[in-house]
């Protein structure tokens, strides 16, 4: 398990409009590209060999599965922000303001009153 690497995915994609577009349109192909050429990147010259995604993490990212990501301890701020970027507009047009945010909360309702999975890496 690499919570750090899942967070690195969310962090690097959320801050880049082009990567975000590719993650929305072709998540499976994009996650593969990310693992190959973006995730290992430390800077223009350096590559890291340290981290990799597990099968479960990879699948949750491909599926835009924010419930699984929450349960794996992905950071709540990164997760909320990126999925708002992906889904807010279409939910808003269909159901009005904050519809996606409320849907997100409802999907996690079974965690209310329990101790949440830790976001510490």
């Amino acid at each position: 398990m690499s919570k750090y690497y899942v967070n690195k995915f969310l962090f690097t994609v959320d801050r880049d409009p082009e990567l975000l577009r590719r993650y929305k349109e072709e998540p499976r192909a994009f996650v593969a590209t990310w693992e190959q050429s973006i995730g290992p990147r430390l800077n223009d010259a350096e590559r890291s060999t340290v981290h990799s995604l597990t099968d479960e993490e990879r699948q949750a990212l491909i599926d835009h599965d924010f419930v699984k990501l929450f349960e794996m301890g992905a950071h709540f701020f990164l997760s909320l922000t990126i999925f708002i970027a992906l889904y807010d507009e279409e939910y808003m047009q269909r159901e009005g303001p904050l519809a996606f945010q409320r849907h997100f909360a409802k999907e996690l309702a079974h965690w209310e009153g329990k101790e949440y999975p830790s976001v510490a890496c």
Binding site: N7, F70, T81, L98, Q101, R102, F104, E112, Y116
Partner: protein, 286 residues
């Protein structure tokens, strides 16, 4: 010596500007009241006539990430760009360029190190909404030089509530000893109870209205003993998974010095309780 002319501790709601400037027929019903409260709060800073702003906030994974996350960081740059692409996208916040105050940044860094806070520092820091939201609400002209200080309320393990209080006390000592005739205001932003990316987010109120009520009472009466006795990382998590931003209020109480606040206001909004506090530190005894 410099004069600490005001200490402000405020929530930073990233949608304030958008909520109060969209066409009136699209605004939420509380928008006019929110705007009135913010303008009244702004006056508490204006009338203190500050020359320099020490700004306390927390980067939300905009510049700093988990490859290199500082517990406490101070900016010491001549200028600070502000507002990241993903904040513009989500919150519609404009970009800014804030002047820095390198001399006070350097004095603050050394002064804090002398007081056992070995701060990380940055010569190229882009500021996020934790500092820009209070600029928008309390000094929209954005015309004063700033010294930005970031805290970790976000990437566990976090410093303890007591450590935030102690850092606030140390910042106060450094400001009081700064050899200058400038008037300095300290403005910090954080949260009361808050849930982000969890089951209790975006409800009609914040996730723990009882905590919010208690927190406002503690802050407005300067009751740091009760806070340090009752507030832990675990208790904050029970009030909402992002409630740890409350520790920046604790830090601001450290700067103000366990005093009753001179100005207190709040506004119950969807998703959060907004709260605004100002202290006017008394002249030191000669």
């Amino acid at each position: 010596m410099a004069e600490l002319c005001a200490v402000l501790a405020t929530t930073h709601h990233p949608f304030y500007l958008k909520a109060t400037t969209m066409p009136p027929e699209q605004q939420i019903p509380q928008a006019p009241e929110w705007k009135r409260k913010i303008e009244a709060y702004r006056e508490t800073l204006t009338r203190a006539k500050p020359d320099i702003l020490v700004m306390i906030g927390a980067d939300h994974f905009h510049q700093v990430f988990l490859d290199n996350y500082p517990q406490f960081l101070i900016g010491k740059a001549p200028r600070y760009d502000a507002t990241f692409y993903n904040e513009i996208r989500e919150f519609d916040i404009p970009t800014y360029v804030l002047e820095g105050h390198e001399e006070l940044s350097d004095y603050m860094l050394r002064g804090l190190m002398d007081r056992s806070f070995d701060m990380a520092f940055s010569h190229e820091l882009k500021i996020d909404h934790s500092i820009i939201c209070p600029i928008i609400t309390t000094r929209p002209e954005a015309d004063l030089p700033v010294v930005p200080i970031y805290t970790n309320i976000f990437a566990p393990p976090l410093p303890s509530p007591r450590r935030f209080w102690e850092l606030g006390c140390a910042i106060r000592e450094v400001i009081d000893s700064y050899p200058s005739d400038k008037r300095i205001a300290a403005i910090g932003s954080g949260h009361l109870s808050l849930e982000l990316g969890g089951p209790r987010q975006f409800r009609e109120t914040g996730p723990d209205p009882e905590f919010d009520r208690q927190a406002i009472e503690w802050i407005s009466t300067g009751n740091i003993e009760a806070i340090l006795e009752n507030v832990t990382h675990e208790s904050m998590a029970k009030s909402g998974n992002a409630t740890h931003g409350f520790m920046d209020f604790i830090l601001m109480m450290g700067i103000a010095g366990a005093e009753k606040a001179d100005y207190v206001d709040n506004l119950d909004l969807f998703h959060t309780m907004e709260a605004y506090f100002t202290w006017y530190p008394k002249e030191k005894a000669a």
